[in-house]
């Protein structure tokens, strides 16, 4: 044997010993008896991934098992969601879905290989992320009322940026435009970063985006925010009015993240997972980190699986008339 084989031979024995330990047969104990895989349909480090990691980190302590995050990117998260829909419904494969994968995808992709309601058991809502109406810093209107008038008057001149078809910024901007009754030119970018860059540089006029990325830019004065599309003002931006206060109550949008299990997952497993989610959301450290992200933590009544099921139903009904199929 050459040195290559020799150098590996040492590790070889150790590996075999390690594997023997691993293959100890799983006992029929109460769930969970082994690692749980959490599919995150977006890249590591993205808003959904960050929320999923914060919450599952605490859930793993409650459940006494490691939760492995598996980031599967592609097609606005639908690739991963399809995979989760087809996974074994034993509670060992879960998915952190969001507004896009479990609501907006229904009207956007008529050929979707899954249905958010028919193929998933709702487990629990994790957090909501408010949507802001943002504009380049030198856009003439000073408040939302002026902005509405400006966009209506300059419908053919304004450019709205978004982070790609099916992204949160895209679908929420579609909602805003349909509420305003305008059809401006939408300039697509590859993700929130480049879209924000264009807005800061003044190459586009306005966009809708999640609060996470926008707060430091607003505070730094490189862009401005007209309103936040939630019922209440957000603690991280106390000076930005809600859409209701500013005169556009019809525009309400929040990007939410929630855990789902494949259809047919046993009710006791779902209940156990839901309890772990609720426990995590009540944890001081988890709450602090979610609030730092500008997230809205769901109230007790909104944390049950049934409440999540209703949310999904309502969201599908809300987005269907606004979004047109991409194909």
């Amino acid at each position: 044997m050459n040195w290559y084989g020799r150098s590996l031979a040492g590790g070889c024995l150790a590996a075999i010993a390690g594997l023997a330990l691993l293959s100890a047969p799983a006992q029929a104990q109460t769930y969970p008896t082994r690692n749980i895989t959490m599919i995150v349909p977006f890249a590591a480090g993205g808003p959904t991934d960050v929320i999923a990691r914060i919450v599952t980190g605490h859930m793993a302590q409650t459940l006494g098992q490691t939760i492995i995050i598996e980031n599967v990117v592609g097609a606005g998260g639908t690739t991963a969601t399809t995979r989760a829909a087809r996974a074994a419904n034993d509670g060992y494969t879960l998915i952190t879905g969001h507004m896009g994968t479990h609501a907006a995808s229904v009207p956007l992709y008529p050929k979707l290989a899954y249905h958010p309601e028919k193929d998933f058991e709702p487990v629990g809502l994790l957090a909501g992320t408010p949507i802001l109406i943002l504009a380049r810093k030198d856009l003439p209107p000073k408040d939302l009322k002026e902005f509405i008038a400006y966009v209506k008057a300059n419908e053919t001149k304004v450019n709205a940026a978004h982070a790609g078809v099916g992204s949160v910024s895209n679908v929420s901007c579609e909602l805003l435009n349909s509420v305003l009754g305008v059809k401006p030119i939408g300039v697509p970018f590859n993700g929130t970063g480049p879209a924000m860059n264009a807005l800061v540089a003044g190459q586009v006029d306005y966009m809708c985006d999640q609060i996470v990325n926008a707060v430091p830019q607003i505070n730094g004065g490189t862009i401005k925010a007209y309103a936040v599309a939630t019922a209440e003002r957000n603690p991280s931006l106390p000076d930005v009015p809600t859409t209701t206060e500013a005169g556009l109550p019809a525009f309400q949008a929040q990007a939410w993240n929630a855990i789902f299990a494949p259809k047919g997952t046993p009710p006791d497993v779902v209940a156990k997972l839901n309890a772990a989610v609720i426990k995590a959301l009540d944890d001081e450290a988890v709450r602090k980190r979610l609030l730092e992200l500008g997230s809205v933590i769901p109230a007790s009544a909104d944390r049950t699986p049934a409440a999540l099921g209703t949310l999904v139903k309502n969201e599908i009904a809300k987005w269907t008339p606004v979004l047109k199929p991409v194909n």
Binding site: A43, T79, G193, V200, A201, Q203, Q217, N327
Partner: protein, 521 residues
């Protein structure tokens, strides 16, 4: 100037922070531990080791290792990530040089001459000059960020869609210059690459293009997947041919000298300098400037060289220039993140993710609000580059010895590493099959004397070019003149046109270097 020194000293203070460690077994004696230096070292080491695995490019390495930094304090996590990033990049170059498998666009160019050098038994000097060039570029870029970071930001904001489109056109011309054989075939390969890059969903409408309802194609063909197939698998299949085997044995017999000779250093010094300058400038542009840094540097070297025919056949400048440019660009691409708070590329987006998970959301004020973080990171870049030099120069010997593994054992190992690598990037078995298919395509291309490098570059530039063209036209409402009326764009277009004339004229006159003549007879 005084500001810069105080800022840099703040940064180095953060990096050289000592934490008192009082282990119980020492009975109360505390040992000072330079935690951040250690994190940087570990990051660079792990990054190198993962980046060197064929099939795993820089972005994949950083994405893969990102979660291990989540448990650390923010500054430490970012310093470690920076180490991982440089390590991954250097590891990727190592794979390109040793086995001709580039993991990202930047290393495609390194593979051209680096692998030829390895074939000539000069893998050691190639690896060493890559490390030395990267270190030099890293030092210059670190100083540049510290001094000019804020004003350079304006450049990033001055580049709109029209400018990026023109820059990508320039990039395509660079890709033509890369070719060592027929220009016509090189252009055909670029266009094939552009065509392949169209697979996936359309940016503006989301419509699925040429994806044949295969879910894994919905977001297009991955660069790493294609590179693995066209370079990695195709190279293996070709080597298994009878002719390739003698080629391999040649590699194993001729290993000479691990370190570059004085002549090598003299030859590559100006290339390193020019590569650093080009890379530093291009790296600042968030929309894909760093992508073309390495081949801009290569093109420049080939064009001004007195012996352009040596390029693609083991010219040391062909390794030194792109590697320096690549590293300088990697460094200066932090500028938009540190001054604007906007991630300019996928790796930086991951960094932002790492920051948000620690509760820091970077913005335009990050320099004022978290000076220790920003300057700590800038200082750690320099330290990270130093680590790479410290880690990699001794490793050169080991890497070169790896080439002595009999090919009959080496090739199945590469197949396995590539397969696992491709699979683990997205946990998608289909990606592995796609790479296999492109392995066969690559084999066919080699047999027909088509070069895969221009194809890959076309593949990288395609989306950037199309998207920016469409954005520019949307914003200008269909007015094509924007590319010539905006000054920066016009300058880039003029350079592209000039370069095109310089490249095509000689072939039209049938006076192109002997390389072309060779392929014609």
């Amino acid at each position: 100037m005084g500001d810069i020194f105080s800022n840099l000293s703040l940064g180095f203070g953060v990096v050289f922070q000592f934490v008192q460690w009082t282990p119980a077994f020492l009975g109360g004696t505390s040992i000072p531990i330079p935690v951040n230096i250690l994190l940087c070292l570990i990051g660079a080491l792990v990054g190198t080791l993962v980046g060197v695995l064929p099939g795993i490019g820089t972005i994949a390495t950083v994405a893969m290792l990102l979660p291990i930094t989540f448990g650390l304090p923010p500054v430490g996590a970012l310093i470690m990530l920076a180490g991982i990033y440089y390590g991954a990049q250097y590891g990727g170059s190592t794979t390109s040089i040793l086995v001709n498998i580039p993991g990202e666009a930047g290393s495609v160019v390194t593979a051209l001459d680096g692998f030829q050098m390895a074939k000539q038994g000069r893998a050691g000097p190639a690896l060493a000059i890559a490390a030395i060039g990267s270190f030099f570029a890293g030092c210059v870029a670190t100083v540049l960020i510290a001094i000019l970071g804020a004003p350079l930001t304006k450049l990033a904001l001055a580049f709109g869609p029209a400018e990026y489109f023109s820059l990508m056109v320039l990039g395509l011309i660079f890709a033509v210059v890369l070719a060592k054989g027929s220009v016509l075939k090189a252009i055909a390969m670029i266009v094939l690459g552009l065509l392949l890059s169209m697979v996936g969903s359309d940016i503006e409408t989301g419509a699925s293009r040429m994806a044949f309802n295969i879910p894994e194609l919905a977001d297009g063909l991955g660069f790493a997947t294609l590179a693995m197939g066209l370079f990695g698998f195709a190279e293996i299949i070709r080597n298994l041919d009878a002719g390739g085997e003698s080629d391999r044995q040649l590699v194993q017999q001729k290993v000479s000298g691990l370190m570059p000779t004085a002549r090598d250093l003299r030859d590559s010094a100006p290339a390193v300098g020019r590569g650093t300058v080009l890379g530093s400038i291009l790296g600042i542009l968030p929309g894909g400037g760093a992508v073309i840094a390495s081949f801009a540097a290569y093109t420049l070297e080939k064009k001004i060289s007195k012996t352009p025919q040596k390029f693609g056949r083991g010219a040391i400048q062909g390794v030194a220039a792109p590697e320096s440019a690549n590293n300088a660009a990697a460094q200066t691409s932090f500028i938009p993140l540190l001054t604007l708070g906007i991630p300019p590329n996928a790796v930086m987006a991951l960094m932002v993710g790492a920051m948000t998970i620690h509760g820091i959301v970077p913005g335009p004020q990050v320099m004022q609000k978290q000076p220790d973080l920003v300057w700590g990171m800038i200082a750690s870049m320099w330290v990270g580059n130093l680590m790479l030099l410290v880690i990699n120069l001794p490793l050169v010997g080991i890497w070169v010895r790896l080439l002595r593994v009999p090919y009959r054992l080496m090739f199945p190992s590469i197949v396995i590493f590539c397969s696992i690598g491709i699979y683990s990037v997205n946990n998608a078995p289909t990606d592995v099959i796609i790479a296999g298919v492109f392995g066969l395509v690559g084999y066919w291309l080699i047999k027909h004397d088509f070069e895969p490098a221009p194809l890959l570059l076309g593949m990288v530039l395609g989306p950037l070019m199309e998207e920016n063209l469409r954005r520019a036209l949307l914003i200008s409402r269909g007015d094509w003149s924007v590319f010539l009326t905006r000054p920066l764009s016009a300058v880039l277009m003029a350079i592209a046109a000039g370069l095109l004339v310089l490249t095509v004229l000689p072939t039209l006159r049938k006076k192109r270097d002997e390389v072309f003549v060779e392929s014609e007879n």
